[in-house]
Symmetry: C2
Subunit: 406 residues, 2 copies
């Protein structure tokens, strides 16, 4: 007997037939003797429709009201799934965020969960009454509805799993697990049986959109075992676990990429203290996240070139802020390029293995791919390359690290 | 300066354009210096879609979950209208039933409002912040969402108007007021400037579906002045008021009709005490509302004929219950007929005027229309006639009581 939180995304609950299918999966777990709670997203397309209505009325809708509107999608699916479970003779009860409550901070549209009062849910689970919980939403300090941002239902599920001390959090989605690389690009990509939280976090933040980044952070800090699996097959999925649960660690577990990158290069910038602080301080004040930063060696000791990347959506604002700093930074020229892609190799094994970065650079060199910027962390090496090399770089690296399926 | 509750139905908020139109009407009242609260229904069609989904999953959906699903429609419109008001620089804040709270009893899908805590709404109204309140929904004693049944948003609006002690409750709809008769049938029907609560109540309960019956009951008992008007024109509507606000009372204010009738006749039933009690007791226990009852004189002192009407939706169950009583009631024959219509003349003036019923019977007789049953109240005379005479009866009576437009 295990305690399980099952989470189903929008495509899994897209219509009454699929909701019935989800109910059958839940019923199977209950009949196997498990204590089950379910978290669901809105029906596929519902949230987009709700967002479109708010945008039709205002380009900058009041975010409290935006949340009131978009949170309604999950309210629909929890009620429908509870009804479907009732038809299968499974006792079930729907819960909206405020009814539990799932308390969040007051940051509408991007709220963070602060606390979940799970006692009543646990009591129901023990009595074999399945709580069907609305993902994505919570209630703020003033009693307003809040939402967690796109993909937030994953976060709801993992946070709920932590709150009810679940043995596992099963994330049902329209893919059947986490792959060594995007299988749409690298046909030889393999499904991973297990992956560590740290690796998953890098994958998620680098654009492999299987799990919401915040959900992985919560899973990691609360040691919630997460399984990613398909709601349309009966195949086992990928288990996201603590590092010590993986005996044989791959040096590289996967190759991720992100097209959401834009590069800025400031040529001939003064090479003196305070210049970088001034530049990045201004961008931070403007709410712009800077990712990779490369400063070239100063040949004359007076000026240097500075390259950094931001999200593509932030490029226009970056251009404006940079223009405003022309005098202060005294750069010669500013160059902007959004036809770049960030490619990363990820693996907890690289902590204890040298040569991972070298192999990456060598492989790219052999394929004639120029590296525009590099950044590294303990378990990741990322490079920025011309967007046109995306497929070539991914396939070459996937083979070079021995990840190709037999 | 007045305090006004404005209520908009589903066709008035059917899409973003119409919601913008509603926002402009609200803004006009606010700019005229009034204290305003708004109640809205779900977008036209939304509730039908939600109900259809619940029915696709279960013919008898759990009603708590049914309510959770269908209450979501109003949540969408309150947020959207608040956003639209924001665009017009009108301060507004959406309120769901549970946030106010609007407390109801625990009768899911047909809940009754028990209490509205309006203090925070009144405080906002005084500060020119428009509360935008979800109609149709409330919160039950256990914290579950409840709904008030179809048309319940009218009731929400009138109950809210009573709670905030509003000077007026304006019900915006897709017709421009209350007419002397259904204008689709009687082209000479006139819009009434004023009508009493009692008359409106009879109209509403007799199928003239301008207002939800329960809303009129609440308006009457709390003396809430209600105005019915169109959200698509700027014409004044019909004011529903206490009787003492109408100086010149019409003997007959309107002619209503209801097609939702089915007639049962039991021939040769034993004419002894207890028979009627046994029959109507069984029907009541079966949840069937009996409307008109006619017992003919007993020619032989032993048997008689008994005729009564029920709602058409209840006819099949009535047949079954009647069959089960065959032995006990010892009737000779049971006849059922659902091709009947109930036609009523309504007017508070008939309290002080004789001859109203006689004119009705005379008019029907002159038009060759046979009366199958009669029932009367202080301010109403109803007759049951063959359905095929509906239009003829309505037009003839409308003319006979001098209601035709010049």
């Amino acid at each position: 007997m295990a305690r399980i939180v099952m989470k189903f995304g929008g495509t899994s609950v897209a219509d009454p037939d699929r909701i019935r299918n989800v109910a059958r999966r839940v019923a199977r777990e209950v009949k196997d003797g498990h204590e089950v709670a379910v978290v669901v997203s809105a029906m596929a397309g519902a949230t987009n429709q709700l967002v479109a209505w708010t945008k039709a009325l205002s380009t900058t809708p009041n975010l409290r009201e935006y949340d009131a509107v978009v949170a309604s999608g999950e309210q629909v699916t929890i009620g429908l799934l509870a009804i479907a479970l009732g038809e299968l003779k499974i006792k079930a009860k729907s819960w909206q965020g405020w009814q539990i409550p799932i308390r969040t901070n007051d940051q509408h549209a991007v709220a963070r969960i602060e606390d979940i009062s799970a006692d009543r849910l646990v009591a129901d689970m023990k009595r074999k009454i399945v709580p069907v919980v609305a993902g994505f939403q919570g209630v703020g300090p003033d009693g307003s509805l809040t939402t967690l941002g796109r993909g937030g239902s994953d976060t709801s599920a993992v946070a709920l799993a932590a709150a009810v001390r679940a043995d596992r959090c099963d994330i049902y989605t329209d893919v059947d697990g986490v792959y060594t690389c995007d299988p749409r690009i690298v046909t030889k990509a393999r499904k991973l049986d297990r992956i560590t939280f740290e690796e998953m976090l890098e994958m998620a933040s680098l654009g492999a959109k299987v799990l919401h980044t915040r959900s992985v952070e919560i899973a990691m800090s609360h040691h919630v075992r997460v399984q990613v699996l398909s709601s349309f097959t009966d195949e086992p999925g990928t288990l996201v676990v603590d590092e010590d649960e993986i005996v044989e660690k791959a040096v590289v577990s996967g190759i991720a990429y992100s097209r959401d990158e834009a590069k800025t290069t400031l040529q001939g910038i003064a090479d003196r203290p305070g210049v970088a602080a001034s530049l990045f301080g201004t961008l931070a004040d403007g709410g712009i996240n800077v990712d990779m930063i490369v400063q070239s060696a100063s040949p004359d000791g007076k000026t240097t070139d500075l390259t950094f990347t931001v999200g593509r959506a932030d490029l226009e604002r970056t251009k404006k802020l940079i223009a405003g700093l022309k005098k202060k930074l005294a750069y010669r020229k500013a160059l902007f390029d959004s036809s770049v892609v960030k490619v990363s190799v990820i693996g907890v094994g690289m902590r204890s293995h040298a040569g991972v970065a070298r192999r990456m650079f060598q492989t790219l060199f052999e394929n004639g791919i120029n590296i525009q910027a590099i950044s590294t962390s303990e378990i990741k090496v990322s490079v920025l390359v011309d967007e046109k090399f995306t497929e070539l770089a991914l396939r070459a690296l996937h083979a070079a690290y021995g990840l190709d399926a037999a």
